[in-house]
Protein backbone atom coordinates (compact mmCIF):
# COMPACT_ATOMS: atom_id res chain seq x y z
CA UNK A 1 0.00 0.00 0.00
CA UNK A 2 1.07 3.54 -0.65
CA UNK A 3 0.70 6.67 1.43
CA UNK A 4 -1.12 9.36 -0.53
CA UNK A 5 0.83 12.48 -1.46
CA UNK A 6 -0.14 15.91 -0.20
CA UNK A 7 -1.74 16.93 -3.51
CA UNK A 8 -3.65 13.63 -3.78
CA UNK A 9 -5.14 14.23 -0.32
CA UNK A 10 -5.97 17.83 -1.25
CA UNK A 11 -7.99 16.55 -4.22
CA UNK A 12 -10.15 14.48 -1.83
CA UNK A 13 -10.94 17.51 0.32
CA UNK A 14 -13.28 20.44 -0.21
CA UNK A 15 -11.85 23.85 -1.07
CA UNK A 16 -12.71 26.67 1.35
CA UNK A 17 -15.28 27.97 -1.18
CA UNK A 18 -16.87 24.52 -1.54
CA UNK A 19 -16.95 24.10 2.25
CA UNK A 20 -18.81 27.36 2.67
CA UNK A 21 -21.61 26.33 0.31
CA UNK A 22 -21.61 22.53 0.85
CA UNK A 23 -24.64 20.91 2.45
CA UNK A 24 -23.69 20.38 6.08
CA UNK A 25 -24.59 17.39 8.22
CA UNK A 26 -27.46 18.47 10.52
CA UNK A 27 -25.26 18.06 13.61
CA UNK A 28 -24.40 21.06 15.78
CA UNK A 29 -22.17 21.20 18.82
CA UNK A 30 -22.77 23.51 21.77
CA UNK A 31 -19.89 24.18 24.18
CA UNK A 32 -21.07 25.17 27.66
CA UNK A 33 -18.35 26.88 29.73
CA UNK A 34 -15.39 25.13 28.16
CA UNK A 35 -12.23 26.52 29.71
CA UNK A 36 -9.41 25.49 27.39
CA UNK A 37 -8.71 27.27 24.10
CA UNK A 38 -6.92 24.14 22.92
CA UNK A 39 -10.09 22.12 23.38
CA UNK A 40 -12.12 24.77 21.52
CA UNK A 41 -9.60 24.82 18.64
CA UNK A 42 -9.50 21.04 18.43
CA UNK A 43 -13.32 20.89 18.36
CA UNK A 44 -13.38 23.45 15.52
CA UNK A 45 -11.04 21.16 13.59
CA UNK A 46 -13.26 18.12 14.25
CA UNK A 47 -16.42 20.05 13.27
CA UNK A 48 -14.75 20.87 9.95
CA UNK A 49 -13.83 17.20 9.42
CA UNK A 50 -17.39 16.09 10.26
CA UNK A 51 -18.88 18.93 8.16
CA UNK A 52 -21.03 19.92 11.12
CA UNK A 53 -23.74 22.51 10.72
CA UNK A 54 -22.59 24.85 13.45
CA UNK A 55 -20.53 25.29 16.61
CA UNK A 56 -22.27 27.27 19.35
CA UNK A 57 -20.00 28.76 22.00
CA UNK A 58 -21.63 29.67 25.31
CA UNK A 59 -20.82 31.18 28.69
CA UNK A 60 -17.13 31.66 29.33
CA UNK A 61 -16.08 29.39 26.45
CA UNK A 62 -13.37 31.36 24.60
CA UNK A 63 -14.26 32.56 21.08
CA UNK A 64 -12.20 33.37 17.97
CA UNK A 65 -10.15 35.33 17.22
CA UNK A 66 -7.58 33.93 19.65
CA UNK A 67 -4.17 32.67 18.60
CA UNK A 68 -4.45 29.49 20.68
CA UNK A 69 -7.77 28.60 19.04
CA UNK A 70 -6.48 29.29 15.52
CA UNK A 71 -3.36 27.25 16.15
CA UNK A 72 -5.14 24.08 17.30
CA UNK A 73 -8.00 24.48 14.81
CA UNK A 74 -5.45 24.67 11.96
CA UNK A 75 -7.61 27.27 10.25
CA UNK A 76 -10.96 25.49 10.71
CA UNK A 77 -12.23 28.70 12.34
CA UNK A 78 -12.60 29.94 8.74
CA UNK A 79 -14.74 27.05 7.54
CA UNK A 80 -16.97 26.18 10.48
CA UNK A 81 -19.98 28.42 11.14
CA UNK A 82 -20.12 29.53 14.77
CA UNK A 83 -22.19 31.75 17.07
CA UNK A 84 -21.72 32.96 20.62
CA UNK A 85 -24.39 33.14 23.33
CA UNK A 86 -23.54 34.44 26.75
CA UNK A 87 -26.37 32.42 28.24
CA UNK A 88 -26.67 28.72 27.36
CA UNK A 89 -30.38 28.87 28.22
CA UNK A 90 -30.89 31.47 25.47
CA UNK A 91 -28.92 29.35 23.02
CA UNK A 92 -31.12 26.33 23.75
CA UNK A 93 -34.25 28.49 23.31
CA UNK A 94 -33.14 29.66 19.85
CA UNK A 95 -31.92 26.24 18.75
CA UNK A 96 -35.25 24.73 19.72
CA UNK A 97 -37.02 27.43 17.68
CA UNK A 98 -34.93 26.14 14.76
CA UNK A 99 -36.53 22.71 15.32
CA UNK A 100 -33.39 21.06 16.60
CA UNK A 101 -33.39 18.29 19.20
CA UNK A 102 -31.13 19.04 22.13
CA UNK A 103 -28.94 16.28 23.59
CA UNK A 104 -26.57 16.56 26.53
CA UNK A 105 -23.42 14.46 26.56
CA UNK A 106 -23.46 13.68 30.26
CA UNK A 107 -23.56 10.78 32.70
CA UNK A 108 -27.21 10.60 33.80
CA UNK A 109 -29.77 8.04 34.86
CA UNK A 110 -30.89 7.78 31.20
CA UNK A 111 -27.99 5.51 30.10
CA UNK A 112 -28.67 6.04 26.41
CA UNK A 113 -25.48 5.38 24.42
CA UNK A 114 -24.22 7.84 21.81
CA UNK A 115 -24.73 5.14 19.19
CA UNK A 116 -28.50 5.03 19.88
CA UNK A 117 -29.52 8.09 17.90
CA UNK A 118 -32.42 7.59 15.50
CA UNK A 119 -33.25 9.11 12.13
CA UNK A 120 -36.01 11.25 13.68
CA UNK A 121 -33.51 12.82 16.13
CA UNK A 122 -31.91 14.92 13.36
CA UNK A 123 -31.35 17.86 13.11
CA UNK A 124 -29.73 17.85 16.52
CA UNK A 125 -27.42 19.69 18.87
CA UNK A 126 -25.06 17.97 21.31
CA UNK A 127 -24.10 19.97 24.41
CA UNK A 128 -20.63 19.38 25.84
CA UNK A 129 -19.97 20.73 29.31
CA UNK A 130 -17.11 22.17 31.29
CA UNK A 131 -13.93 20.07 31.63
CA UNK A 132 -14.35 19.66 35.38
CA UNK A 133 -18.03 19.85 36.24
CA UNK A 134 -19.73 18.88 32.97
CA UNK A 135 -23.26 20.12 32.32
CA UNK A 136 -25.26 21.71 35.16
CA UNK A 137 -28.49 19.99 36.21
CA UNK A 138 -30.60 23.05 35.24
CA UNK A 139 -29.22 22.88 31.67
CA UNK A 140 -29.83 19.13 31.58
CA UNK A 141 -33.48 19.74 32.38
CA UNK A 142 -33.83 21.86 29.23
CA UNK A 143 -32.56 19.03 27.00
CA UNK A 144 -34.62 16.45 25.11
CA UNK A 145 -32.37 13.65 26.23
CA UNK A 146 -28.85 12.77 27.37
CA UNK A 147 -26.36 10.45 25.71
CA UNK A 148 -23.18 8.96 27.08
CA UNK A 149 -20.05 7.15 25.97
CA UNK A 150 -19.58 3.93 27.94
CA UNK A 151 -16.40 3.93 30.05
CA UNK A 152 -14.50 0.69 30.65
CA UNK A 153 -11.68 1.93 32.86
CA UNK A 154 -10.98 3.68 36.13
CA UNK A 155 -11.31 7.32 35.08
CA UNK A 156 -14.66 9.11 35.05
CA UNK A 157 -14.55 10.62 31.62
CA UNK A 158 -12.65 11.44 28.44
CA UNK A 159 -11.01 14.69 27.43
CA UNK A 160 -13.83 16.87 26.05
CA UNK A 161 -12.35 17.23 22.57
CA UNK A 162 -11.84 13.45 22.35
CA UNK A 163 -15.44 12.86 23.48
CA UNK A 164 -16.62 15.39 20.87
CA UNK A 165 -14.75 13.51 18.14
CA UNK A 166 -16.23 10.13 19.11
CA UNK A 167 -19.77 11.51 19.14
CA UNK A 168 -19.46 13.63 15.98
CA UNK A 169 -18.11 10.79 13.86
CA UNK A 170 -20.74 8.34 15.09
CA UNK A 171 -23.47 10.89 14.34
CA UNK A 172 -22.06 11.55 10.85
CA UNK A 173 -21.98 7.80 10.20
CA UNK A 174 -25.57 7.34 11.41
CA UNK A 175 -26.88 10.38 9.52
CA UNK A 176 -25.27 9.27 6.25
CA UNK A 177 -26.67 5.78 6.75
CA UNK A 178 -30.20 7.07 7.39
CA UNK A 179 -30.12 9.65 4.60
CA UNK A 180 -27.96 8.20 1.84
CA UNK A 181 -27.96 4.48 2.69
CA UNK A 182 -24.17 4.60 3.12
CA UNK A 183 -22.94 1.62 5.13
CA UNK A 184 -19.57 2.05 6.82
Amino acid sequence: MRKLLHNEILKERLTIEEAQTAQKHPISILLHNIRSMYNVGSIFRTCDAGRCEELILCGYTPCPPRNEISKTSLGAVETVRWRYFKDTTDAIYYLRMENKKIFALEITDRKRYYTQIKSKDFPLVVILGNELVGIDQFILELCDDAIEIPMFGVKHSLNVSVAAGIVIFELVRLYRRFSFGEIW
Copy 2:
Protein backbone atom coordinates in the same frame (compact mmCIF):
# COMPACT_ATOMS: atom_id res chain seq x y z
CA MET B 1 -33.41 13.05 33.89
CA ARG B 2 -30.85 13.38 36.61
CA LYS B 3 -27.11 13.85 36.49
CA LEU B 4 -25.35 11.10 38.41
CA LEU B 5 -23.45 12.08 41.53
CA HIS B 6 -19.72 11.60 41.87
CA ASN B 7 -20.07 8.50 44.06
CA GLU B 8 -22.69 6.98 41.74
CA ILE B 9 -20.27 7.35 38.81
CA LEU B 10 -17.44 5.89 40.88
CA LYS B 11 -19.55 2.77 41.49
CA GLU B 12 -19.82 2.24 37.71
CA ARG B 13 -16.03 2.38 37.25
CA LEU B 14 -13.30 -0.13 38.03
CA THR B 15 -11.03 0.42 41.01
CA ILE B 16 -7.31 0.64 40.23
CA GLU B 17 -6.88 -2.93 41.53
CA GLU B 18 -9.72 -4.21 39.35
CA ALA B 19 -8.32 -2.37 36.32
CA GLN B 20 -4.95 -4.02 36.76
CA THR B 21 -6.41 -7.52 36.67
CA ALA B 22 -9.44 -6.98 34.40
CA GLN B 23 -9.52 -8.67 31.01
CA LYS B 24 -8.46 -5.99 28.53
CA HIS B 25 -9.88 -5.46 25.05
CA PRO B 26 -7.32 -6.89 22.58
CA ILE B 27 -6.66 -3.44 21.14
CA SER B 28 -3.22 -1.85 21.44
CA ILE B 29 -2.12 1.60 20.31
CA LEU B 30 1.38 2.35 19.02
CA LEU B 31 2.53 5.98 18.93
CA HIS B 32 5.23 6.61 16.33
CA ASN B 33 7.16 9.85 16.92
CA ILE B 34 4.34 11.77 18.60
CA ARG B 35 5.68 15.15 19.62
CA SER B 36 3.17 16.52 22.12
CA MET B 37 3.05 15.37 25.73
CA TYR B 38 -0.55 16.56 25.88
CA ASN B 39 -1.47 14.21 23.06
CA VAL B 40 0.32 11.33 24.80
CA GLY B 41 -1.45 12.09 28.10
CA SER B 42 -4.83 12.35 26.42
CA ILE B 43 -4.27 9.02 24.63
CA PHE B 44 -3.36 7.36 27.96
CA ARG B 45 -6.69 8.61 29.31
CA THR B 46 -8.60 7.25 26.28
CA CYS B 47 -6.78 3.89 26.50
CA ASP B 48 -7.94 3.63 30.11
CA ALA B 49 -11.53 4.43 29.10
CA GLY B 50 -11.42 1.86 26.28
CA ARG B 51 -9.66 -0.68 28.54
CA CYS B 52 -7.02 -1.15 25.85
CA GLU B 53 -4.45 -3.90 26.17
CA GLU B 54 -1.36 -1.73 25.87
CA LEU B 55 0.08 1.58 24.73
CA ILE B 56 3.40 1.28 22.90
CA LEU B 57 5.49 4.45 22.76
CA CYS B 58 8.13 4.60 20.01
CA GLY B 59 10.85 6.87 18.67
CA TYR B 60 10.87 10.34 20.17
CA THR B 61 7.35 9.99 21.65
CA PRO B 62 7.69 11.26 25.24
CA CYS B 63 7.25 8.65 28.00
CA PRO B 64 6.12 8.82 31.63
CA PRO B 65 7.09 10.08 34.12
CA ARG B 66 6.50 13.61 32.84
CA ASN B 67 4.28 16.15 34.57
CA GLU B 68 2.55 17.18 31.33
CA ILE B 69 1.64 13.56 30.55
CA SER B 70 0.36 12.87 34.07
CA LYS B 71 -1.70 16.04 34.02
CA THR B 72 -3.56 15.32 30.78
CA SER B 73 -3.83 11.59 31.49
CA LEU B 74 -5.47 12.37 34.86
CA GLY B 75 -3.61 9.45 36.38
CA ALA B 76 -4.31 6.90 33.63
CA VAL B 77 -0.54 6.37 33.43
CA GLU B 78 -1.06 4.17 36.51
CA THR B 79 -3.73 1.95 34.96
CA VAL B 80 -2.69 1.55 31.31
CA ARG B 81 0.13 -0.90 30.55
CA TRP B 82 2.82 0.68 28.38
CA ARG B 83 6.19 -0.14 26.82
CA TYR B 84 8.81 1.93 25.04
CA PHE B 85 10.72 0.96 21.90
CA LYS B 86 13.29 3.31 20.44
CA ASP B 87 12.78 1.76 17.03
CA THR B 88 9.21 1.35 15.70
CA THR B 89 10.45 -1.44 13.42
CA ASP B 90 11.53 -3.45 16.47
CA ALA B 91 8.17 -2.83 18.14
CA ILE B 92 6.31 -4.12 15.07
CA TYR B 93 8.57 -7.19 15.01
CA TYR B 94 7.77 -8.07 18.64
CA LEU B 95 4.05 -7.29 18.31
CA ARG B 96 3.83 -9.56 15.31
CA MET B 97 5.55 -12.32 17.32
CA GLU B 98 2.68 -11.86 19.79
CA ASN B 99 0.28 -12.69 16.93
CA LYS B 100 -1.14 -9.20 16.64
CA LYS B 101 -2.32 -7.70 13.37
CA ILE B 102 -0.74 -4.36 12.65
CA PHE B 103 -2.86 -1.53 11.23
CA ALA B 104 -1.69 1.96 10.31
CA LEU B 105 -4.10 4.88 10.72
CA GLU B 106 -3.03 6.74 7.61
CA ILE B 107 -4.38 8.08 4.33
CA THR B 108 -3.34 5.49 1.75
CA ASP B 109 -4.56 4.01 -1.50
CA ARG B 110 -6.29 1.24 0.53
CA LYS B 111 -9.30 3.37 1.55
CA ARG B 112 -10.45 0.93 4.21
CA TYR B 113 -12.54 2.72 6.81
CA TYR B 114 -11.87 2.34 10.55
CA THR B 115 -15.33 0.81 10.88
CA GLN B 116 -14.40 -2.09 8.57
CA ILE B 117 -12.47 -4.20 11.05
CA LYS B 118 -13.47 -7.86 11.22
CA SER B 119 -13.58 -10.37 14.05
CA LYS B 120 -10.47 -12.15 12.70
CA ASP B 121 -8.45 -8.89 12.85
CA PHE B 122 -8.24 -9.06 16.66
CA PRO B 123 -5.90 -8.92 18.57
CA LEU B 124 -4.64 -5.83 16.79
CA VAL B 125 -2.39 -2.82 17.09
CA VAL B 126 -3.19 0.57 15.54
CA ILE B 127 -0.20 2.78 14.73
CA LEU B 128 -0.70 6.54 14.99
CA GLY B 129 1.95 8.73 13.42
CA ASN B 130 3.58 12.07 14.04
CA GLU B 131 1.32 15.14 14.23
CA LEU B 132 2.79 16.69 11.07
CA VAL B 133 4.06 13.92 8.81
CA GLY B 134 2.02 10.90 9.94
CA ILE B 135 3.46 7.44 9.38
CA ASP B 136 6.53 6.98 7.18
CA GLN B 137 6.15 4.85 4.03
CA PHE B 138 8.73 2.31 5.28
CA ILE B 139 6.66 1.73 8.46
CA LEU B 140 3.49 1.46 6.37
CA GLU B 141 5.08 -1.36 4.39
CA LEU B 142 5.51 -3.38 7.59
CA CYS B 143 1.79 -3.17 8.41
CA ASP B 144 -0.92 -5.68 7.55
CA ASP B 145 -3.26 -2.96 6.39
CA ALA B 146 -4.16 0.71 6.76
CA ILE B 147 -7.40 2.22 7.98
CA GLU B 148 -8.65 5.76 7.73
CA ILE B 149 -11.31 8.07 9.10
CA PRO B 150 -13.28 9.71 6.27
CA MET B 151 -12.90 13.50 6.19
CA PHE B 152 -15.78 15.69 5.03
CA GLY B 153 -14.20 19.13 5.33
CA VAL B 154 -11.30 21.22 4.15
CA LYS B 155 -8.58 20.13 6.57
CA HIS B 156 -6.42 17.07 5.93
CA SER B 157 -6.74 15.37 9.23
CA LEU B 158 -7.86 15.37 12.87
CA ASN B 159 -5.83 16.02 15.98
CA VAL B 160 -4.05 12.73 16.74
CA SER B 161 -5.64 12.26 20.17
CA VAL B 162 -9.11 12.87 18.70
CA ALA B 163 -8.42 10.37 15.90
CA ALA B 164 -7.21 7.86 18.52
CA GLY B 165 -10.48 8.27 20.44
CA ILE B 166 -12.66 7.73 17.38
CA VAL B 167 -10.79 4.58 16.39
CA ILE B 168 -10.48 3.12 19.91
CA PHE B 169 -14.20 3.43 20.68
CA GLU B 170 -15.24 1.97 17.34
CA LEU B 171 -12.87 -0.97 17.89
CA VAL B 172 -14.18 -1.52 21.42
CA ARG B 173 -17.74 -1.49 20.07
CA LEU B 174 -16.89 -3.95 17.27
CA TYR B 175 -14.89 -6.25 19.57
CA ARG B 176 -17.67 -6.40 22.15
CA ARG B 177 -20.20 -7.08 19.40
CA PHE B 178 -18.12 -9.93 17.93
CA SER B 179 -17.20 -11.44 21.30
CA PHE B 180 -20.16 -10.84 23.60
CA GLY B 181 -22.98 -10.11 21.13
CA GLU B 182 -23.40 -6.62 22.64
CA ILE B 183 -25.27 -4.35 20.27
CA TRP B 184 -24.77 -0.63 20.82
